[in-house]
Amino acid sequence: MIVRRTTLAGALALTRAELADMFQYRVVLFLYSLWEVVHPIVYLAVWGAIAGEGEVGGLRLSDFAAYYLTFMLVSHVTAAIEIYTFGPMIQQGELSPHLLRPMNPVWVAAARNISYKSVSMLLLIPVWIGLVIILRPSFTITAGSVALFLVALVVAALLSFLVGTTFALLAFWTTRSFSFWEIWIGLTFLLGGQVAPVELLPGFVQNLATALPMRYTLGFPIEVLLNRLDPGELALGFALQFAWLFAAALIVRAVWRAGIRQYSAVGA
């Protein structure tokens, strides 16, 4: 994909504007990001209660703590918010002025995504550090795993953004894009590494989770960072993650083109 220099400058300007806009809502954003702290704590408590002093599937309490603490950061960085930020724009006809600009309105969604996360991340980090002190995780990381993690994290964030945008674009056709989104959220909860690390899912479900895209938006980077994968699994994981990213890019492009063709603003 070739991005023109003017587009890049436009994207930067958009991000600056969105950042300033987001900063007004810092208290609300803080509450939203606390949400991303509570859910991992619930599942950490569940697995901690089962593991007790022993282990579950080779994971001890401190491993679960490391997993779910990493989860908080990863889920924050990869969160798809387009159904809230971009979908309503289409539904309420606010898309029209953006269509007059010489760049694709998907950049607006991207700018919002980045500025939301930058502002709320600043607020989240002190909470996170506090939790690290309380929960005593054992971070089984190496220099190599951190490097690979960063790659997996960026790809996961991109993939998640493209998926989120695709679901938001369904607003071109239906007012119920939220219902479809909820299916995706549910599948991510079960298969993406939220209710349990993927390695703890029962046999065939684990294979399903490995094949489907949800894990590559969430669980996979965590597993990479904490060295939970052998070289074969690592290679397969990255191959599938990039394959899904490519597929998602094609899908979002096709959906955007089909949608924009039959878009009519409110009142048309």
């Binding site: 509570v38 209660a49 349990a196």
Partner: protein, 261 residues
């Protein structure tokens, strides 16, 4: 008697209004079914590694999940629509019209609106409870059922009080549209028995922000588990919370100055 007439008039009006959006029922039902299916799937994953979660068996945990959805449905049907309106009315100053009516403001503010479609959660939550109880082959006597209802009423009273107290903050801070998210944050910990949490969090969720009384205690009552706390505490705390929240509402109300004054 007059109160019953007023509330039932609101309820009738709400049903009439909402029948215009029949498709919403299908949409909400669909979303509730997905949500509950996913939650039960999550329980299945957890219980594939253990037969007991802090002493709770799968069926008992299912009953607890059912109680969670039941309360969630009640909140979204009856509590949040009315109280959220207070927040926007105080901001716009149209809360004047609530005060001018010859009905206690608290009653009017908390029973004006019903989003009946959210009863889907109530029904499905009830179904999950029933399935759990049948699989437990629980012997539910009339007495146990009566205690369960009493404890549930206590739990809902606690929920209402917390929600009302958070809403009342609007009289001081005006812009509190999202403050009830704090409730949801804590409430989400109630999908699982409070016993799974570490000691300090368990105390917090039992005595400070009593989620334990909203889901864990009712589920314990009906599945015949050893009670976490004396059961009569639930309605008592519910009643005390209601009194405190109503008092707080009156204090807040005295600070209301309408918009632009």
């Amino acid at each position: 008697m007059r109160i019953v007439r007023i509330v039932s008039a609101f309820l009738r009006a709400a049903i009439l209004k909402e029948t215009a959006y029949r498709a919403e029922l299908v949409g909400n039902l669909f979303r509730s079914v997905i949500g509950i299916a996913v939650a039960v799937g999550g329980l299945a994953v957890v219980f594939s590694h253990t037969s007991e979660l802090s002493g709770w068996r799968l069926e008992q945990a299912m009953v607890l999940l059912g109680v969670y959805y039941l309360v969630q449905g009640i909140v979204q049907t009856a509590l949040s629509p009315s109280l959220n309106e207070v927040v926007s009315e105080v901001r716009k100053g149209t809360f004047d019209y609530v005060l001018l009516k010859p009905v206690p403001s608290l009653l009017l503010s908390s029973t004006r609106r019903f989003v009946v479609w959210h009863l889907a959660d109530v029904l499905l939550g009830g179904a999950i409870i029933a399935i759990g109880l049948i699989r437990l082959e629980a012997q539910i006597t009339f007495g146990v059922a009566a205690i369960f209802v009493g404890v549930m009423v206590g739990g809902v009273a606690i929920v209402f009080s917390i929600w009302l107290a958070l809403t009342t903050l609007v009289f001081w801070f005006v812009r509190v549209e999202n403050i009830t998210m704090i409730f949801q944050l804590f409430f989400d910990t109630g999908r699982y028995p409070v016993e799974i949490y570490p000691f300090w969090l368990r105390q917090l969720l039992t005595f400070v922000f009593p989620v334990a009384f909203i889901t864990t205690v009712p589920a314990q009552t009906i599945t015949g588990r050893e009670p976490l706390v004396a059961i009569w505490l639930a309605p008592l705390i519910g009643a005390l919370a209601l009194l405190a929240a109503a008092r707080f509402w009156r204090i807040g109300l005295s600070r209301y100055t309408s918009a632009s004054s």
